[in-house]
């Protein structure tokens, strides 16, 4: 597993893909941070993380599109599958490598908050007798980062799974984007129309509840306000687990086909 992990990490930066991903991620995070906090004169980071999760829909497939599709196309999977490595180890190696890159980028982009803290400190110094806290809330940021990490983990699992089904990087990326888009955007359906005018798209409360329950984004809102929601944590972790497991199954099944 370690060998696959090391090789994957290295191949990210042998290929332009790794640089493209880190470059786009860091630039985008910096811009988003700038526009959602400093420009709008607020210390609340909840919008920043909201948009960051939306942009992950496009960014994560960049990271995962190669993982298995490329191996299959180049026939290198034959080497991996005849080597003394379990399929689980193989999938986990690839999954963790993608996750490491993603987590690294996310943690680096936390430096974007430094100006926010500086400004906050200066403003707090000016209003010494303010009752409310002035400046960004660290616990909120920490919870949000954890939430984004978990969402990223789930997205990467989905991306790796889709990649294991295809032989073409591009189709792998596009299918992943489509799947992620659906999973993130289902709860938008709930907000269409309004009750007072009777134009609600989905009238049944039960259906709305289920959609809300499934949606990735609705569970993220508690993280954004600094609440560690255990059910959301379990939800994201099990989502990752399920798709990693499915990837392993795909490979097991192909051997038997």
């Amino acid at each position: 597993m370690l060998a696959v992990y090391k090789k994957e990490l290295r191949s990210f930066f042998i290929n332009p893909v790794g640089f493209v991903f880190t470059g786009i991620f860091l630039t985008l995070a910096a811009f988003l941070c700038c526009f959602t906090t400093l420009k709008t004169k607020t210390y609340s980071t909840s919008n920043f993380f909201y948009y960051l999760v939306l942009s992950l829909i496009v960014l994560i497939p960049l990271l995962t599109m190669r993982s298995f599709a490329e191996e299959r196309k180049m026939r290198t999977e034959q080497m991996l599958l005849t080597a003394p490595v379990t399929i689980t180890g193989l999938v986990l190696g690839k999954y963790l490598a993608s996750f490491t890159i993603f987590a690294g980028c996310l943690l680096v982009s936390c430096f974007d908050f430094v100006p926010l803290y500086i400004v906050g400190k200066a403003e707090a110094a000016l209003n010494k007798d303010a009752i409310t806290h002035i400046g960004p809330v660290t616990s909120q940021i920490a919870a949000s980062v954890l939430g984004v990490l978990l969402i990223g983990a789930a997205f990467i699992a989905i991306g790796v799974f889709v990649s294991s089904l295809t032989e073409n990087q591009l189709s792998s990326a596009i299918i992943t984007i489509a799947v992620l888009l659906v999973m993130v955007a289902v709860n938008v359906l709930n907000t269409i129309g309004s009750d007072s005018e009777g134009t609600r798209l989905i009238n049944s409360y039960v259906v709305r509840y289920i959609i809300d329950w499934m949606s990735i984004l609705s569970r993220f809102s508690s993280f954004r306000y600094g609440i560690l929601d255990w059910s959301a944590l379990v939800y994201y972790l099990s989502l990752s687990f399920i798709f990693v497991y499915l990837t392993v199954r795909v490979y097991e099944r192909r051997r038997w086909a």
Partner: protein, 401 residues
Amino acid sequence: MIKISHLVKNYGNFCAVDDISFEVAKGEVVGFLGPNGAGKSTTMNMVTGYLSSTSGSVTIGGVDILDDPLNAKRLIGYLPEQPPLYPDMTVAEYLSFAYDLKGCTFNREKHIGEICDVVKITDVKNRLIKNLSKGYKQRVGIAQALVGNPPVIIFDEPTIGLDPKQIIEIRNLIRTLGKEHTVILSTHILQEVQAVCDRIVIINKGKIVADELTENISRAVENTRRFNVKISGPQRDVLATLRNLPGISYAEVLAARDGDAYTYMIESEVGVDIRKKLFWTLSDKGWPMIGLEALGMSIEDIFIAVVDKTDEEKRPGLRQDRKKKPDSRRAAAEKAMASEIVEKTADDRKRSGDGEPEEEAPAGDYYEDHTVTEDTFAKMTEKAAADREERAGDGGEKKGE
């Protein structure tokens, strides 16, 4: 070392491999032959654990590849049909990855260096694989299979894309490996099998049709009674003389002509060496013999005959008309030999099937240590270095004289 029993692989309704059984002993080099689509690669992929079998089992050194894949795979070095290379890596990086992947415990630098020396890729070690030529890529693939010095080595067409000199080197390498390792070699190049393998297994349409020691086949091939003779003289008289010569059972004129000389094909009777007699007869007549060539049956002929024969058996209707007109006596002889081999194999298989149920491997056997203790590659490089020195020494001496 490798035991394949009743291996079957179905793809839907299509049966790619149909009840194959054979064993390869330790230190044996087996050539695995067959026409395209015969199921060679499928079998290889099942032996190495890349594909699973529909039924039947493969054990490597007593370890079943499906029950305990990790320990079984640890014993195998595999070069698939298309070498599994990462184009964006350098050769050294790639081999280092293979080293990690196989969990080797040798001295990394030394081990990889030795392998590079053996397959002669040291000078491209730091180049990207995608920039290498086909031959070099192939060699990197071979190197990858050798990493970790596994006791079982499986090559699927290893010499494709190599230049003639390289082919000979790789064949020598395989022969050297065959002393301590168990090697299965799948190939289309029949001379290669003849040169390298101890045993030949021919497979057609998913079934084993021949399983014979190379020695036996070669002996059959060499034991020829047919010659091409080039004789300068009046064609009709010469032919008449040849036909009347006691000891010659058959003679005919071939089309090839060289000045006033014609080429004749003759076949002697069993157990008669006709050559001396032929010489004296012709010299008496005053017709100089300007060429004599023994017509060995090539291994290709046997291969084709065996495959043809098994095809015939499977589809009797289709080949009927062709069967009726034998192309030549030569083809007939090949067919006879082919059917002999095929029948013998079928007999063997039947006998082994009838025999008592296979005894269980003793418990101790399971954990038998199959690691190749000797440092094969180090020895090879040492030997090569010694050879070079010797040659250099010779050159020096000669210059001295």
